[in-house]
């Protein structure tokens, strides 16, 4: 580890902390439906949308209605993308004349982008037409992110409202987030990327003559526009197969740094918005402190392991850290940081190959996702996932102050506990259940490239990534088979919506409750004690659930490496 490396990491966290409140304020304006400076220009467009679609943005929805509208919206988008991919060969903007995608791959990809996972069983530049990329996929990058943030808003309202029967309007939330937050940010962001050298063209490819005189065809396309929302919306689906390790997606050290920042930015801001929504920004800071602490622990371990390198190689006379699978442009620190950021945040973009990390270095990204993508997490999804853990933490430990547990003034009772447990149990059920299926069936066993515990890690990582809606791949797993495409598709769908529905039910139940004013006897949910408790609960619940699988995967892998045995 180097001083430079640590300065990069600390600067990264420092800049984000500085951005938290401004972004949080902006998000809070959208949360409340207040006017922003952008309304002067975009206000008429918003109003036009509502008129066109016959939506009354002031019509409040119950949690059930909110959930149903959200589900219908997502289902329609799923079929839309499926259709585009199946019909790709017949549709325009297909300069390289790619044919239709097979059924299983279309299903997997459509689910993947709808659920904000962006798991890619295909290589982008060799599979997708520009129309598929822009209309079939990028649209989801915006709308799945907007859906996530809208859901977080709905959940916040559950905490913030008193004796209320509604939690907002899904259509209004989604429209405002897209129009006033995602689009303007992405336009600026995309221009920055273009200036840094990222291509933005409808041309299919360009032929170049390399230094050796060989002819090479370089695929081009509308990369910058997709790249911006890929990061901001924690989507992670790259235009190219190599994702952010590809020089056209991520050309410079500066773009690399900005990409990492943009993965976390909205997630950081939302914690502040939550605090503000429930009347005390310190509530938000306490949550953010817990997230950042877990994140820093992860970064430390991965960076340390990657910098320490592989003892087997050291013995062979190759000193230094582990550079396998990393871009020389970025080096160990930036790659380690990127890997932890992208997995903590449910983004899934990569600038290095996690499969090539050391066993423990690669375990952190895996464990990050297994914690439920709540360490900052996906836009919206991270904070509502974390709040589910907060409900659990407050219930277990809150009794210890001698009161019925309360969180931000709302009593946590049987119904909330039941729903929170339901939502949290989905994760281990699907991750471990599907991994179990894959590790005993023939169709599953042909997937992993490597043998032994490393191969097991590959399977485990794939399902973890899918259920956690992360979308990053450990690589090494041949996933474009009917078995994996199908099972992973189902896993992504469950991982997204089987958490959302109970979460919205909690929002509805909380909104209906009375507010209990805080007193000296109330459970304190702002200080360092609460933050440590949150960290403890997240780590213990995640750790206890996944330790056996981690022991058989990365931990066994690591110990074997120490013993001089590589997989």
């Amino acid at each position: 580890m180097t001083v430079q490396g640590w300065m990069l990491i600390l600067a990264f966290v420092g800049i984000l902390l500085a951005l938290t409140k401004p972004l949080g304020l902006w998000l809070h304006a959208l949360y409340e439906g207040r006017s922003t400076p952008l309304h002067a220009i975009l206000g008429p467009i918003e109003a036009g949308f509502y008129r066109l679609s016959g939506i009354d943005p002031t019509a409040e929805q119950s949690w059930r209605r909110y959930a149903v509208h959200m589900l219908i919206f997502n289902a329609v988008l799923l079929f839309f993308t499926y259709a585009i991919l199946r019909l790709q060969g017949m549709l325009p903007l297909n300069p390289l004349h790619y044919g239709a995608l097979p059924e299983h791959l279309s299903f997997n990809t459509a689910v993947s982008f709808t659920t904000n996972t962006n798991w890619q069983s295909y290589g982008g530049e060799s599979t997708m037409s520009n129309l598929s990329q822009m209309l079939g996929l990028t649209i989801h990058n915006f709308l799945s992110a907007a859906t996530g943030i809208a859901l977080a808003f709905a959940f916040f309202r559950g905490f913030a409202r008193r004796s209320a029967s509604t939690i907002g309007n899904f259509w209004a939330d989604c429209t405002r987030i897209t129009l006033y937050l995602l689009l303007p940010l992405c336009i600026v962001y995309a221009l920055f990327l273009i200036a840094s050298g990222v291509p933005q063209t409808l041309a299919g490819s360009v032929d170049v003559t390399t230094l050796e005189g060989a002819k090479q065809t370089l695929t081009l396309g509308p990369v910058a526009s997709q790249e911006a929302i890929k990061m901001l919306g924690t989507n992670g689906g790259g235009f190219f197969n190599a994702n952010s390790a590809h020089p056209f997606e991520n050309p410079t050290a500066l773009t690399d740094f900005v990409q990492m920042l943009s993965i976390f930015a909205i997630g950081f801001g939302l914690t502040w918005t939550f605090g503000k929504a429930v009347g005390n920004p310190r509530q938000g800071w306490a949550i953010l402190a817990a997230m950042v602490t877990i994140f820093l622990i992860g970064v430390t371990i991965t960076y340390w392991q990657e910098a320490a390198g592989n003892p087997v190689l050291h013995q062979l006379g190759v000193p230094g850290g582990n550079m396998e699978g990393k871009e020389v442009r970025f080096g160990i620190a930036a790659s380690s940081l990127f890997s932890v950021v992208t997995t903590a945040a449910s983004c899934g973009a990569v600038n290095a190959m996690h499969d090539s990390f050391t066993a423990l270095g690669g375990m952190i990204p895996l464990f990050n996702i297994q914690l439920g993508e709540v360490v900052v997490g996906g836009v919206g999804a991270g904070i509502y996932g974390f709040l589910l853990f907060a409900i659990l933490a407050v219930f277990v430990a809150g009794l210890m102050v001698g009161r019925t547990p309360e969180y931000v003034g709302k009593k946590i009772e049987g119904r909330e506990v039941k729903l929170a447990v339901l939502a949290i149990a989905v994760l281990p059920l699907v991750i471990l259940g599907f991994t179990a299926i894959a590790s005993v069936t023939q169709a599953g066993l042909v997937g992993p490239l490597n043998k032994g515990p490393h191969g097991f890690s590959e399977i485990l990582y794939a399902f973890t990534s899918a259920v956690g809606n992360n979308g990053s791949a450990f690589a090494g797993l041949t996933a474009n088979t009917p078995f994996y495409d199908g099972l992973l598709g189902v896993a992504m769908w469950i991982g997204r919506f089987f958490i959302i529905v109970p979460m919205l039910a909690i929002a509805g139940s909380l909104a209906a409750k009375k507010y209990t004013p805080e007193s000296a006897g109330s459970f304190p949910t702002t200080g360092p004690l609460w933050t440590s408790l949150l960290i403890g609960i997240v780590l213990i619940v995640g750790g206890l659930t996944f330790l056996p699988s981690l022991a058989l995967g990365p931990i066994a892998d690591h110990l074997a490496m120490i013993g001089g045995h590589l997989f």
Partner: protein, 678 residues
């Protein structure tokens, strides 16, 4: 806290019957109420069957030990519950004996003709006669007569109390004995619904329903069990991938150590013990829900008299006005009070004697006493044609219209305002229309009450003093006693409004009361403690009854509620925190055959894989009886504010819960290896 001496938990007369009950409670119908323990029992049964069939490679002795410890885990849980129930059972038995011997003298029509019938045949509306020496056969209301009653059977207090028709002392309870006189009682409950029945059910824990918080906690425990079932259930597939397999017995051991057996085993014992503490504190809660609500109380409404101040006001000074001499005033006050048998009246007489040496101790024969009525709010005496009046200032002024605008009246108002401002109650004295002055009645705030309110404040509870006094007096006493707020000149309607207002603000309110006019407020409050001396209406309306009729107890009741919730939280945290060490014991033992490198996870340095697994399961079982005393006694509640309290409990039960099993499992492992058990 409790009056009766804390009985030790482990005495033979409690333990022996509890062991029998522990086995009876293995009945699946009863066991399924506790899903975690039910799961444990199912796993234990499965292993017992596998032991008989013997299909895997593990040694018989090892598996036998596992089976035994699994069953012990279940039995320790049922034993804890049985032990908690046992403490109430003895009390219930003696109450039942009292009930069995009840015979009623049921009145036939008008007059005193009665027939002897069994108390169990009485219905609502029947009227019974109870004479000296009789036991009152049923709960009811005195409709005729006055009697002194010994209520020791239910309150444990042997000093007799007065029960009389009309007013706030008309309720009588079955099983109590009339010591003198006779009364007619109208029965107010049907058989099996009475106070005695309720008390028997309560102390026995027979009618025990799970409280809302208990239900929520059970859901959490079931959720954790499901998560661990998934975590353990998928291991065989993972092991299969690694080219090996894990014996069912070991998977079972891992599952049972991970699921929260500790808290699940103790959960109902905690609830029963919580109710039992309240009972031994002579407070009966009609439901466990009320006890939980007590822990959540935000606002406490306390009657001034008897709770904050010593019940009786004492005369402390004579304040003459407009040329009247102090001795003159003292003499008039004395004459007006000689016939007044209230403590206030007596204190006036005493003050006049002490300060002015007045010796007269009885009124002349021809004196006419004018008694106090609620309408006039004046009492007095007419001696030789001279009228002396004593009463509330406004009333005395109103009764003497001519004096309204005189300088004497103005001075009286000034003096009485001063008295009120300093927390006293002024009584005006007038003789034949002339205002003599005021008597300073002083409210004496109970010693130590200020500290108690400080404690409550640190617990986050706001105290509101309820008083019939005027706002000036109330403010002064409120300041002296250190309450947060007060409600002066309170009528029952004001009280009810205050409760509603607090509840609309999301706060939970507790109060106590005894009169019929308190009933609506008692019913509205989240925790309403009715005094046992109160009316039947009040006792029905409240959700707790204080047998000692001590309003100060409300504060302790809140503490008991908090203790109950805290005990649950502490043991849940402990139970979950324990899992960390158990993983470190079992995971390396389980997978060592697959990946020998995993032995580095054996941080405790346990002897062999088998001894590690056995030690974990033994620790998991033994921790239950070890924690039974804590579950029954309850975690100590300290009024130090939520933050410090949480820090303290997290350190003890959270951090302690992580560390303790590392030590415990290691020690057991040493013993297991030393004894050659595995």
């Amino acid at each position: 806290m409790a009056r009766s001496a804390q009985k030790s938990v482990f005495t033979a007369d409690l333990i022996v019957p509890a062991i029998g009950d522990a086995f009876r409670k293995l009945n699946p119908v009863e066991l399924i109420r506790n899903p975690v323990m039910f799961t444990t029992a199912v796993v234990a049964t499965l292993l017992t069957v596998l032991l008989a069939i013997g299909t895997d490679t593990l040694g018989f002795a090892f598996k036998l030990q596992l089976v035994v410890w699994l069953w012990l885990t279940v039995l320790f849980g049922t034993f804890a519950e049985a032990l908690a129930e046992g403490r109430g059972k003895a009390q219930a038995a003696s109450l039942r004996a009292t009930k069995a011997e009840l015979v009623a003298k049921k009145l036939k029509g008008k007059g005193d003709n009665y027939e002897n019938v069994a108390a169990s045949t009485l219905r609502i509306g029947d009227v019974v006669l109870v004479e000296t020496g009789d036991l009152i056969p049923s709960d009811g209301e005195v409709i005729e007569g006055v009697a002194s009653v010994n209520e020791a059977a239910i309150t444990g207090e042997s000093a007799p109390v007065i029960r009389e028709a009309g007013g706030d002392r008309s309720a009588v309870t079955a099983g109590t004995r009339v010591l003198s006189d006779q009364i007619k009682v109208r029965v107010t409950v049907d058989p099996g619904q009475g106070f005695l029945d309720r008390m028997i059910a309560l102390v026995e824990g027979a009618e025990r329903q799970k409280t809302p918080n208990e239900i929520a906690l059970t859901i959490l425990l079931v959720g954790l069990t499901i998560i661990f079932l998934i975590a353990v259930g998928t291991i065989p597939s993972f092991a299969h991938y690694a080219g090996g397999d894990v014996p069912v017995a070991i998977l079972a051991a891992l599952l049972i150590t991970l699921i929260p057996t500790t808290i699940a085993a103790l959960l109902s014992a905690i609830g029963i013990a919580g109710m039992d503490r309240l009972v031994r504190f002579n407070v009966l809660a009609k439901s466990g829900r009320a006890v939980e609500a007590a822990g959540d109380i935000d606002t406490l409404l306390l009657d001034k008299t008897g709770t904050i101040t010593i019940g009786d006001r004492q005369a402390s000074e004579f304040k003459p006005v407009h040329g009247t001499t102090p001795a003159e005033l003292a003499m008039a006050a004395l004459l007006a009070s000689l016939a007044d048998e209230t403590p206030e009246g007596r204190s006036i007489v005493q003050l006049a004697r002490e300060k002015f040496g007045v010796t007269q101790s009885s009124l002349p024969h021809d004196a006419e006493v004018i008694p106090f009525t609620a309408q006039t709010r004046i009492s007095g005496v007419r001696i030789n044609g001279s009228l002396i009046q004593k009463g509330a200032v406004d009333s005395v002024l109103r009764a003497n219209p001519g004096s309204g605008e005189t300088p004497a009246a103005a001075e009286l108002r000034r003096v009485t305002d001063e008295i009120a401002r300093s927390g006293g109650t002024p009584l005006a004295v007038a003789q034949d229309g002339r205002l003599l002055g005021a008597i300073f009645l002083k409210d004496v705030v109970k010693a130590g009450i200020r500290e108690r309110f400080g404690e409550l404040r640190r617990m986050g509870i706001r105290t509101v003093m309820i008083t019939g006094d005027n706002p000036l007096t109330a403010a002064a006493i409120a300041a002296e006693a250190g309450v947060d707020d007060f409600l002066a000149q309170a009528t029952p309607e004001d009280k009810l409004d205050l409760i509603r207002k607090e509840q609309q603000g999301g706060r939970l309110v507790a109060m106590c009361g005894d009169g019929t006019n308190d009933a609506p407020a008692l019913a509205q409050a989240d925790v309403g403690v009715a005094m046992n001396t109160g009316t039947q209406a009040a006792r029905e309306a409240g959700n707790m009854v204080d047998l000692d009729s001590d309003p100060t107890k409300l504060i302790e009741v809140v503490g008991l509620g908090k203790q109950l919730l805290m005990t649950r939280g502490a043991l849940t945290t402990f139970s979950v925190a324990n899992d960390v060490a158990k993983y470190f014991a079992i995971i390396p033992a389980m997978f060592i055959a697959l990946y020998p490198g995993l032995t580095v996870l054996n941080v405790m340095g346990l002897g062999t894989p088998q001894s590690a697994i056995l030690s974990a399961i033994i620790f998991n079982a033994l921790i239950i009886p070890l924690l039974v005393p804590l579950a029954l006694r309850g975690v100590t509640y300290r009024p130090i504010g939520a933050g410090p309290l949480l820090a303290r409990n997290l350190a003890i039960y959270g951090l302690g819960g992580i560390i303790a099993p590392f030590v415990g499992i290691k020690l057991i492992d040493v013993a297991v290896n030393g004894l050659g058990l595995a």
